[in-house]
């Protein structure tokens, strides 16, 4: 069996909250190839963010483990940069300084001062933010902040780019713009991306594979869907593309049909909100 680029093998996690054990994940198995774009989709509280945090090293799996290029992941590191939902820029640093902080940390011994400066500018140019170098995060819009957050992660040259509902807090128009930017950048740089989303269209549009998760507690991977759509993809052309519509249909079916049989029994209180519009702010702290 060939070794995959990133592998989650039998990952499970149990949280200890006030002496009570809570099992969030069990038997999560996933193999991701280099340059692949994978999204994780599932209902709120199903542990998608926990999977991402385990890959990032921010949480330690209690069973199984994550292997990146043949080495087990134990700590957080810049090779697995995370784009958080709420941009997470340091509000006291300018756009340039925010990216600089990451660049200076990652390339302090491999790039000269001038090279690092150019690298910061290059990455901000990738996300079209070179016009706001000396603005503070409080002075730019939400979409711009998220662009800077992405630039900061790209600048670390991560082996895997992890995105935790990166566009969840943005309005639909801005979200579409950023999705297009992300597709362009990924086509150019060939990043390996793992993205969490609530948005079915986003998942189908961006991904090579969509990983659908069952509802928690003790969530796991329910179904993996391959998205066989030609790249570059155009959202307007795809809107009526039969493959796109079919894939979209399959994801929706998984999310809602599942809910009726086993999901409803496990979490009867979960109300049926369309997944596309569903979003909750503290998803990644759900199990803490």
């Amino acid at each position: 069996m060939s070794m995959s680029y990133l592998e989650l093998s039998d990952v499970g996690i149990e949280f200890d909250t006030n002496g009570e054990k809570f099992r969030a994940l069990r038997n999560v198995n996933l193999k991701i190839q280099q340059g692949e774009f994978v999204s994780l989709i599932g209902h709120s509280g199903c542990g998608k963010s926990t999977v991402l945090n385990i890959i990032a090293g921010l949480h330690q799996a209690t069973e199984g483990g994550v292997i990146l290029q043949g080495k087990e992941v134990s700590d957080p590191g810049p090779d697995r940069a995370v784009v958080f939902q709420n941009h997470s820029l340091m509000p006291w640093l300018t756009v340039r300084e925010n990216v600089e902080l990451a660049v200076n940390q990652v390339f302090k011994s491999t790039k000269s001062k001038a090279e690092r400066r150019d690298w910061v500018l290059h990455n901000l140019a990738l996300v079209n933010m070179e016009h706001a170098l000396d603005k503070l995060p409080g002075e730019i819009s939400g979409g711009m902040k998220q662009r800077v957050g992405i630039a900061r992660c790209l600048a670390m040259q991560p082996r895997v780019l992890l995105m935790d509902e990166p566009f969840g807090a943005l309005d639909a128009l801005t979200r579409a713009q950023l999705q297009d930017s992300l597709m362009k950048i990924q086509a150019e740089l060939g990043n390996t991306v793992v993205m969490i989303t609530h948005d079915v269209d986003e998942a189908v549009l961006l991904s090579d594979r969509i990983v659908m998760m069952t509802n928690g507690p003790a969530a796991t991977i329910g179904k993996v869907l391959s998205v066989e759509l030609e790249r570059p993809r155009d959202r307007l052309d795809l809107a009526e593309d039969p493959t796109f519509v079919h894939l979209r249909q399959q994801v929706l079916e998984f999310l809602y049909a599942k809910k009726h049989d086993e999901g409803a029994a496990a979490r009867p209180s979960l109300e049926a909100v369309p997944a596309a519009s569903k979003h909750d702010g503290d998803d990644h702290t759900e199990a803490a």
């Binding site: 700590d75 957080p76 810049p78 940069a81 995370v82 006291w92 990451a102 503070l136 409080g138 702290t285």
Partner: protein
């Protein structure tokens, strides 16, 4: 008539004072002045009715007289000082003229401290105490905020020493200072050290506690960003923890400075540090008919300086704070 009124309405800018402007002037200036006037009237009225063994309680008018007296004393003392140095210079010049190798002595003037000197001493003492306190409180607060284990270890100590009055510390501080600070030619007066250390012991706590809360309350995501970037602990503290905690640290610093200034007066009274506290104590012991008026001048000075110190801290806070939208008051 009607023509002029319509033209005025169509050109509102020609009206010199629009109504909202007048209202804002009333709110910002007239009300505070009214408040102060009412207070002065009540004070004068009340003071007339209080007879003490040192004469009638001073009203605003008598206090104002004492302000004049203190200013005059200051001027006289200054003149004396100038005269002293002139005499000394003349004496030395004469000596040198007679014998160029003569050893000349230059003594500094040691007159009685004026009111202004006492204010300066108090300010220097409180600054020293405040500085010592922050040297301890900010690093300790950082540690407490970063490590919950360290916080649990420190918490009982903080809770027990926080409410202790300066008067309880002072005798201990005095004894320790006189036992350990035994330099031949001391750079600091012992009374100065006693007061400063007492101030430090009392104004340590607000900064310590607020720094702890500020550091512990950093956005989890920012901490995660730092972990993903693998920042070293030092860079983490410098680039993320400290800036994030700055607003809370400053809240603590302002409370600390206010506490320190309040404590100082009591400490100076007992430690006999030549500042405002000693001035009050000396006037009280002096017991002349002017004493109460002079003490009242000191009371107002203390209050006014406390106010200025707080405003200064606010200015510094505005300067260093990254959140320019925050409403600071």
């Amino acid at each position: 008539m009607s023509e002029s009124s319509t033209s005025a309405a169509s050109r509102p800018l020609t009206i010199p004072f629009s109504l909202p402007k007048v209202r804002s002037v009333v709110e910002t200036a007239v009300f505070p002045i009214l408040g102060i006037l009412c207070f002065l009237l009540l004070w004068q009225f009340g003071a007339n009715r209080i007879d003490t063994s040192l004469g009638q309680f001073p009203g605003p008018v008598q206090v104002w007289e004492q302000v004049g007296n203190l200013a005059q004393e200051y001027q006289r003392e200054q003149e004396k000082e100038v005269a002293f140095y002139e005499r000394q210079e003349a004496r030395n010049a004469k000596k040198l003229a007679a014998n160029p190798d003569a050893e000349i002595k230059i003594r500094s003037y040691t007159g009685k401290p004026t009111y202004l000197d006492q204010i300066v001493t108090s300010l220097v003492t409180v600054a020293a105490g405040f500085f010592i306190a922050n040297l301890v409180a900010i690093p300790l607060g950082l540690l407490c905020g970063l490590s919950s284990g360290f916080y649990r270890a420190m918490n009982p100590i903080i809770q027990i020493f926080k409410p202790v009055s300066p008067l309880a510390w002072l005798p201990l501080v005095t004894m320790v200072v006189s036992a350990t600070y035994t330099a031949e030619d001391p750079f600091f007066e012992k009374s100065f050290l006693n007061s400063a250390i007492t101030v430090a012991l009392c104004c340590l706590w607000p900064t310590l506690i607020n720094t702890t809360v500020g550091v512990a309350g950093i956005d989890r995501d920012l901490v995660n960003v730092s972990r993903v970037m693998s920042l070293s602990p030092l860079v983490h503290v410098r680039k993320i923890v400290l800036p994030a905690a700055v607003p809370m640290i400053f809240t603590g610093l302002r409370l600390s400075l206010a506490t320190g200034w309040m404590v100082l007066i009591a400490a100076e009274m007992l430690a006999q540090n030549p500042g405002l506290g000693k001035f009050v104590w000396d006037e009280f012991q002096n017991g002349s008919s002017n004493s109460l008026g002079r003490i009242m001048v000191a009371v107002l000075t203390i209050g006014f300086i406390g106010f200025i110190l707080d405003r200064l801290m606010l200015l510094v806070q505005r300067r260093v704070s990254w959140d320019k939208q925050a409403v600071l008051r």
